[in-house]
Structure formats: structure tokens, C-alpha cells
């Protein structure tokens, strides 16, 4: 019998954030276990309550980021569990896998309706690493188990990707907003399509996209890299900057939870039935 909800973290060849992701899950009061991509039987038999696809470079990003992992047999299981309503989170490369699996936005079952294309920024190309600010859409806060505690504030998180630009076919532009979960904004919460506020040229300033029911979330920023307050750089302004300063002056800095924790704590809350 499970003492706490079990969150499965799936490791593909080339994943590199599985351990910190699993630690973030455990530090939020849930249980976590890392399953390799070829352990689909073990994954099936352990009956996890939720799934996380962590960041990294699955299959070395060969062909296209996330494209090969999306075809793996273990994703059949994740796909069917998501269809049954279990929470699934894809972070960065995990988000790319969810997109290439057709799990977000999921308007038509299994159809690939969006892409995480190469960053498009005037005068530069390639890999981008830094801190961004985002806010959660109202609908996502209401229906997404990963976002229930995010509130209306601005959340600073790190990004690190070369292919993070959400794009949709022109015929789907009208309904892209309905799948919006997280949007890039400045430190005051004001959206802009300009770099560096929108760091990659993403359509509608999208940092995260969910499926129709909100249980599947694909996000490019890394919440597990901002789980603890000490991971926040000193220049971060706003509410989280103030909290950081407060934790430093009160001596609670080492144990204080950072902005990335709200995603995992939201899931724990969801399992406790508080959301």
C-alpha cells in the first residue's frame, strides 16, 4: 500500500534532470521513483499516480528534440494514463516529448498539433540559458493539478533550451489561447513578445501548454532548478526577491522553498484533495 502518492520520473537516454526532479517531488511530500525508458513493465506494475518527463537531451536531440522518445513504447503507457486523467508534467525536453507525442494540446487524440521549434530571436540563434518570469493563466490555475498554488503572482524560473518556441498551424491560431497555461512576462507581470521577456519568439508568449482537461502540462522553464530559495540569483526582483531576502535575514535560507516548488506542492495539494 502506498504511504504517499507515487510520481514516476521517466529517464530516457540523454535525460539529465531526473534526480533533481525526483528530489523536488519527494521534498513536496510525495514519493518518487525513476524509471528508465525500457522499464515500461515495471512502470505499469507500480501504478504511479502521476508522471514527470524531466529535462535533458533525450536521444541526443537527434532528428528533432523529443521526436524519438515520443515513439518509445513507454510513452504508450503515459499516453493511456493521461487519457484516464492522471497528471503528467513535461519539463523542457519532457515538454518536447509531450508535444511530439500529440499529448498537448490534444484537441484530436494523438495528433501532433503544435511544435517546439528552434528559438527565433533576431541576431542570435541556438541554445539560450537564463532566468525568465512567467505567470499562470486563470483557467490553468483552476484545472491544472500542477498549477493550483501558483496564484496570480509572477514566478521567476530558469530556462535552458534551443528549441522552445511554441508554434501552431495557422488554422489553429484561434484556439491556441485555450491551451495556454504559462506565459512569459516581465517582472511586473506584463506580457511582451520582445526579447528577452519572451526569450524564444513563442506564439502568444507561451511558456507552457496544457491539454483540454488540464492534467497534461508541457512547460519549457525548469521548476526543479528553482525548488529551493538558495537557487534564486540575488538580482531577482519582486515578491520572490523579497521572500529570498527575508529568508536570508531570518536564517531560514537553506530550507526555504523557492518559486519552482509551487508546481510540485500544487500536485501534492491536488492529491490531498485540497484543490
Amino acid at each position: 500500500m502506498k504511504s504517499a502518492p507515487l510520481v514516476a520520473v521517466i529517464q530516457f537516454p540523454g535525460s539529465n534532470c531526473e534526480y533533481e526532479t525526483a528530489r523536488a517531488v519527494r521534498s513536496s511530500g510525495m514519493d518518487s521513483c525513476i524509471y528508465r525508458w525500457n522499464q515500461w513493465r515495471e512502470l505499469r506494475d507500480s501504478q504511479p499516480d502521476a508522471y514527470v518527463l524531466p529535462g535533458g537531451f533525450s536521444f541526443q536531440d537527434r532528428i528533432r528534440a523529443g521526436a524519438v522518445a515520443a515513439k518509445e513504447r513507454i510513452m504508450d503507457l503515459v499516453f493511456s494514463e493521461a487519457a484516464d486523467g492522471k497528471p503528467v508534467l513535461g519539463i523542457c525536453n519532457g515538454a518536447q516529448i509531450l508535444v511530439e507525442s500529440g499529448m498537448v494540446p490534444g484537441w484530436e487524440k494523438g495528433r501532433i498539433e503544435t511544435a517546439l521549434a528552434a528559438n527565433h530571436i533576431s541576431g542570435r540563434s541556438g541554445y539560450l540559458s537564463g532566468w525568465i518570469f512567467l505567470h499562470t493563466t486563470t483557467r490553468a490555475q483552476q484545472i491544472c493539478p500542477w498549477l493550483g498554488m501558483t496564484g496570480n503572482g509572477v514566478i521567476p524560473l530558469p530556462i535552458a533550451h534551443a528549441e522552445g518556441r511554441f508554434v501552431f498551424s495557422e488554422e489553429n491560431h484561434y484556439r491556441a489561447e485555450s491551451s495556454a497555461a504559462l506565459k512569459y512576462c516581465d517582472e511586473k507581470g506584463i506580457e511582451s513578445s520582445d526579447y528577452p521577456i519572451n526569450p524564444n519568439g513563442s506564439f502568444l508568449n507561451l511558456a507552457g501548454v496544457m491539454n483540454e482537461y488540464g492534467n497534461v502540462l508541457a512547460m519549457m522553464p525548469h521548476p526543479e532548478r528553482a525548488f529551493w530559495m538558495w537557487q534564486l540569483p540575488p538580482w531577482i526582483p519582486g515578491e520572490w526577491g523579497d521572500r529570498r531576502d527575508e529568508s536570508l535575514s531570518s536564517g531560514s535560507h537553506a530550507a526555504a522553498k523557492g518559486p519552482g516548488s509551487v508546481f510540485f506542492m500544487s500536485l501534492a495539494d491536488y492529491f490531498r484533495g485540497e484543490r
Binding site: R62, A67, V68, K71, S101, I112, E113, S169
Partner: protein
């Protein structure tokens, strides 16, 4: 003046092509090609002195062709690599190009800044599917389209049509 295109390949076996082949074998065994090659494809638009301008660019910028690990050749207007010999196979070429591409834009800017006589650069990936004889060109083209366009989770691999353009030049029997 016309455009000049080159293809660039690794001297060692291409890991992306090997991964694509093994994925095809696993998920589409009936449609799998007998050979699959991958090249970087660079199209130089209206180079002032034609191939002379292009060879100057290639020898100057090792980000386009790194001579330590890559080889390159021109391809003719039918997209037929000029250095491939007749091997009795049916070869179908697919060109995959990002609909919006910072790399092409930035290389165009770099080359213009360096006073190259050129209108622009377009980077793509060229995949060459080889099928053993016995298959018609039409069948081969249909297979290649199925294998390339990733429209559903269980359909296609090499290009996501939401963000990438897929071009199939006329089939070649090399």
C-alpha cells in the same frame, strides 16, 4: 544568375540517420528503407561568382563545413548529389526546412556583412531514402512521405509539419 546548393555530410556514419533507421525498423518495419543518408543542405542564393563564391565561403567558414570531420559537394539542379555513383537503388530525396529559421537568417546577415556577393542562405536537412530495386518510384515516394511527416504520434518521424516544410524533388533512379 542561379542558386548554388551544397550538401555536407559527416566523414563518420551520421548518428541521426542511424537513430532514424533503428526507429523506423522498430515502429514501421514494413515501410523501412534499405538505406538512409542524412546531409546538411545549404542553398546559396544568387552568389555573385557562382560556385567560386560558394567555395570561398565554405573554405572560410568552418561552421558550415568543418574539414576535420565533414565533407561536402555541390548538387545539381535536380538535387542529384554529383558524387554518388549508380548503385541500382531507388533513391528518394526529402528536404526538411524550418518554416522560420534563425540560422539561415543569421548566416545571411553574416555573409552580407562580410561583403559576400550573395542574396541569402537557406539551411535545410536532406534525407536520402534508398530502396532496393523492385519498388516503383510512386510506392517509394508514398512510403517516404509516410515516414517523414510526423502528423500523429504513431505516424512519421523526420519532420513536424507544424514548424517544418517538406519538399520531395522529382524521384531519381541513380
Amino acid at each position: 544568375m542561379k542558386d548554388v546548393s551544397i550538401i555536407v555530410s559527416l566523414k563518420s556514419p551520421d548518428p541521426a540517420a542511424m537513430t532514424a533507421m533503428s526507429t523506423f525498423r522498430r515502429i514501421y518495419p514494413a515501410k523501412c528503407p534499405d538505406n538512409l543518408l542524412r546531409y546538411d543542405h545549404w542553398r546559396f542564393m544568387n552568389p555573385g561568382q557562382g560556385t567560386e563564391t560558394v567555395s570561398g565561403i565554405v573554405s572560410r567558414y568552418h561552421d558550415i563545413v568543418n574539414p576535420n570531420k565533414q565533407t561536402w559537394s555541390y548538387i545539381d539542379e535536380f538535387n542529384k548529389p554529383s558524387d554518388l555513383s549508380d548503385d541500382g537503388m531507388v533513391w528518394i530525396d526529402v528536404l526538411v526546412t524550418d518554416r522560420i529559421d534563425s540560422v539561415s537568417e543569421n548566416w545571411t546577415a553574416i555573409l552580407r556583412r562580410s561583403s559576400c556577393e550573395i542574396d541569402g542562405v537557406l539551411c535545410s536537412v536532406l534525407w536520402r531514402f534508398g530502396f532496393a530495386s523492385g519498388i516503383s518510384c510512386d510506392d517509394a515516394r508514398n512510403r517516404v512521405l509516410d515516414l517523414t511527416a510526423s502528423t500523429y504520434r504513431d505516424h512519421g518521424l523526420l519532420a513536424n509539419p507544424v514548424s517544418q516544410k517538406i519538399d520531395l524533388p522529382a524521384p531519381l533512379r541513380i
